[in-house]
Symmetry: C2
Subunit: 421 residues, 2 copies
């Protein structure tokens, strides 16, 4: 078991943790209706069974015709064509366009046989009955989407490991996939220890506080694609932690333990985790603030994380380590982008060199742009996080950041952050 | 009804639409278990029923004592105190610390009566039995979280209209709120018209295509906090559109219509929407590409939006207009931040001045940073969106953007975008 005092930078700690997992995701695929698959992860490649569009279509309202018939047409010297019919939407057509002919067609309509261009309505003018003046030449292919222009039959359109967004649902439906295989959500067990903790519904006796971490961590886990399978509140008892941890370890895919934050509790947690299997505890202590006493382990191919007991540290460390481990378990092979909001720092922030600091900030808007203001508060205070919109990272080589410098704020929940402006 | 040719800039169109809504949200509140409230909107202010922390707590492992007793202590000349007991976690204590006394205390433990500081274990040394050497002076309040330091009893801790993130769930649980009032999700009806459209499960006959918009729009609506209450596929029939629209209008809170994209279909849609109530169609045509033929209406206090029929335009317009209207209906009083990824543009992009252009882009990572590459494809192609990570906005006064210029990419789905890097 590594020494607590041998602190690793966060990125190295994460690499070591990921490297100890099996290279193939261990969670199985399950079938899911496509319309319920938003934000699930594709478990197999999708091949297009047919082309998209399935037939050549027009992109405008106009007339399908042969481009050669319109050569040199001008308003002063129009080309004259005979209207032989109309292409109805949603049905095939028997019409064949021959030289000198045109057919009325609506946006999305199927290009009839013989036609090689569509001229827009506004570039035509009705002449005598069934006759049409063309005021402008049309080029071959003009205003036509070719069959297969979006997707060709047989092509891989979506790859295994991709997260499904709104547009992927649309793309799947366009090809007739009403049901798809997605990665089963990894089951995540969350254990919180502490003699002082009581469930939120309970009245507090002196010395007691309500459990917070189980709920913030459950929300983070579900946002990262996991399924919280258990949530247990345990006293500071080595035996009870051991049996609860073994049970969770045998049934869940990832186990998250928030231990009491006293030194002895942390040591017990690390020792109990280390007994679960090989290789055991890989990292005990990270060069980061808050969150130094973090434990990362893998036992027989299954990851376990031990978080500090205080809510701010637990939240920040969980936000940094749980999404990548779940992404890996879900088979997401690519890297997630971290969208940021650039802001100007409101005050100087000091930091200890050699350690990564994450400082919660609140954003406000001024004429010059976004201003990031640190939300100070000791890491035991959950409302520090409630008051913050995101955090800034102070890299290990820096000894602080100067007022007015540009910082990149990592939003805690990018699409659910609202600000007073 | 406004003229189609009188095109409004997108921001003005949105302002007009929002201004025609009643100022108070019309959706009611409903009760929700706090642990299921992630991303719901709070429907009433939350007052703290008690202080947080509920009692003074220590932030370290150490000894609770009176600071005055440690004045001038050094390793060479330590102060000597008598250990009178241990503060157990999770229970009150009868212990009272008097001059010359100290009690063992663990992180998060309740500060006993009489103590005004906690000294860390490492700044002490055991002496004879029940006696302790203090190696460093402690200041009053040192290592103590005061009662109410996070939240004071009676304070408003969360305001109506706030989205609930992971940390808000934690903050609510810390105060014992297991159940809260959230805004009911607005019911959204989605109607798609087109003789050529068939449901995704159907085999295609010549001239038919599968419905895509109903599903991409449903996903966008649910991401924006709405509840899709119906999804209807209609032929291009004025009568059928009229009756379906009236039904949806009477039962839903927001109605989204994607009309056929031919000129005549668009005109029919606008006319039918305009009949629903006062003031009727407010905007018909926006200075934007794609999405010019957008219709925005309010009838008797209820919003209706008419989207172009092609999937890319429908998706982009829905992404710009549906989240703000739902936010308004949900009572979100603040403004959502748009997180962006800054990138360098891979090629020149031309644009027509006087119009806002939205260009789908794909991001890739190079040593110099993110590169945004336009995903060209006509707006009828759903896989244009599948291949894109986000979009860039070309402002109306610009005639294009130069290769190498820095652009801000608005990610379509910030937390579910993964990239090859």
């Amino acid at each position: 078991m590594p020494e607590f005092l041998n602190l690793l930078p966060p990125a190295d700690a994460l690499s070591i943790w990921l490297a100890a997992l099996p290279s193939e995701p261990r969670v199985q695929a399950e079938s899911c209706p496509t319309e319920e698959a938003l934000h699930r992860i594709l478990a197999s490649d999708i091949h297009a069974p047919e082309s998209l569009p399935p037939f050549a279509r027009t992109t405008v309202d106009g007339f399908a015709l042969r481009a050669a018939d319109t050569f040199g047409a001008t308003p002063g010297l129009p080309a004259y064509l005979t209207i032989t019919g109309e292409i109805l939407m949603g049905s095939g057509t028997e019409l064949e366009i021959r030289t000198g002919q045109a057919a009325l067609i609506h946006t999305g309509g199927m290009i009839p046989c013989g036609a090689d261009a569509v001229i827009m309505l506004e570039d035509t003018q009705p002449a005598r009955q069934a006759e049409l003046e063309i005021l402008k030449p049309a080029a071959v292919g003009q205003n036509i989407l070719a069959e297969g222009e979006d997707v060709e039959a047989g092509q891989i359109v979506l790859e295994r490991g991709m997260p499904i967004r709104a547009q992927e649902i649309g793309g799947l439906m366009a090809l007739g996939f009403e049901q798809i295989d997605v990665a089963r959500r990894p089951r995540v067990g969350i254990l919180s220890t502490g003699d002082e903790l009581v469930p939120p519904g309970r009245m507090l006796a002196p010395g007691q506080v309500r459990d917070v971490n189980s709920y913030t961590l459950a929300a983070l886990v579900s946002m990262a694609g996991g399924l919280v399978s258990r949530r247990e509140l345990l006293p500071d008892s080595c035996d009870q932690l051991q049996s609860a941890l073994r049970r969770a370890f045998s049934e869940d895919d990832l186990v998250v333990v928030t231990a009491g934050s006293s030194v002895s509790d942390r040591d017990i947690t690390a020792a109990v985790i280390d007994e679960l299997g090989q290789p055991g505890v890989l990292v005990h202590g990270i060069q980061i603030k808050p969150g130094k006493p973090t434990i990362l382990a893998v036992a027989d191919g299954k990851p376990i994380i031990g978080l500090p007991g205080n809510p701010v540290s637990a939240f920040i460390i969980a936000g940094l380590f749980i999404p990548p481990i779940l992404a890996r378990m879900l088979g997401v092979k690519l890297s997630t982008i971290t969208p940021v909001c650039r802001a100007s720092l409101a005050v100087n922030i000091a930091s200890t060199s050699g350690r990564e600091d994450f400082v919660p900030v609140r954003l406000r808007y001024e004429e010059t742009g976004w201003i990031a203001e640190p939300v100070y508060g000791r890491s035991n205070l959950i409302y520090t996080l409630v008051r913050a919109d995101g955090m800034i990272r102070i890299p290990p080589h820096a000894t602080g950041l100067a007022q007015g410098s540009t910082v990149e704020v990592q939003l805690y929940d990018p699409t659910h952050t609202v600000l007073r402006i």
